[in-house]
Amino acid sequence: MSHTNRDYALLGRDAKLAEEIGLVSAQWYHTDLPRKVMKELMQRSDRPAIRDTIILFGVMIASASMGIWLWPSWWSAPFWLVYGVLYGSAMDSRWHECGHGTAFKTRWMNDALYQIACFCMMRNPVTWRWSHTRHHTDTIIVGHDPEIIAMRPAVVARLILNFFGIFELWGNAKTTLQLIAGYMPETTKSFVPEPERKRAFLVARIWGLSYLATLALALWMQSILPLMLVGLPILFGSWHMVMTGYMQHLGLAENVLDHRLNSRTVYMNRISRFIYWNMNFHVEHHMFPMVPWHALPRMHELVKHDMPPAHPSILSAYREIIPTLIRQFRNPDWFVKRQLPPTAQPYRAEYHGDLEPGAPTPGIAGYDNALRPVAAE
């Protein structure tokens, strides 16, 4: 039985309440690090990103070439799977890091890869930049964070279909068509400033022509091959983005101001870290978003005394996430509150660190008092 009715809509009921109780644009907990160390960690470098970008585009060109050469035989399938995961997942992490401006030292390189990654993911570079800015201001604050991917209780069919890129492609295609038509929903306007909106429309129109040209080529060739290169890889290559993306915040606290309570760091294999560009160090990334991807492993070593222990594997993270999502069907206020090591600063009440799993969440107005859950189950 659901005890609450959470309103995740931007500009909705819980958005107003979160603002009233100081959860919006708030001060967040940070681990203390000496200024000299922080400066060193924030330094930009071109070399790691150039190396990874050469590998990324090299493997994409090689796998696509093999896919085309063996097309339409099923022998081409493994090559499309490689191309797809780089197009539909690695481009997500490149979009992310370049959006932060931390991928390269040289600005034009950063901006160029950002545009390419946005094109692959069919994400408007203007609206998504501002959406992610809001995600970092109000991380997992109900009614303010536009990038909460699993509501409480979760919609299981949606979580599963996400692995096949259905909503990513459909949602982004729909948004692109809206922007081509010069329409921006009020919820999007709430985080995209007025002077930026015209640029969003312009980019959508340029991209619309590019997607249309790809579609026209496919029709002319009487083949889906052009769409295997542009567009369709979102469907068969987003699974890695979704698998890693779910680990970022699912099952953790909402409406708190301490990233140790709402974000998750997970150790994983080198290939996944290449695809994900080290975003498995997600608590660290949210706490210090201007530390580049290549410095996050070093940062992790410096702050792990103040963090919940990192999950040792992807499997370990899912062993925590799945039972929590199931329990949230009975009690949407349930979440995992991970234990801190003795060396850590404790969770503090001013950052809502006193919130206990199962207790009513601050900033949620939809409680039915007759069904109000007790603090601990």
Partner: protein, 103 residues
Amino acid sequence: MPWIAACSADDIDNEDLIRWDHGGRSYAIYRSPDDDYFCTDGFCTHEAIHLADGLVMDYVVECPKHNGQFDYRNGEAVRLPACKNLATYQTRIENGQVEILIG
């Protein structure tokens, strides 16, 4: 308009900044790669994040939260999401002290 002694010139590393609070307001004082000193308002104009935790790269300071960037010599916002310029204040060095002209 008074010149106010804010800090010792040596308190700020080369190509770095510090926070300075005075009269209920917060400022950022910078030392450029050429050892010139500059002063701006302390908080990013995009959101109320203090720039003192940000990175100085040549003549640009970066907000530590969202990557908004400003030229600290004239306060100009040079990278989104910062759209509005920072207020700037005159500085001078007197007897090894950085002094700020507060209007």
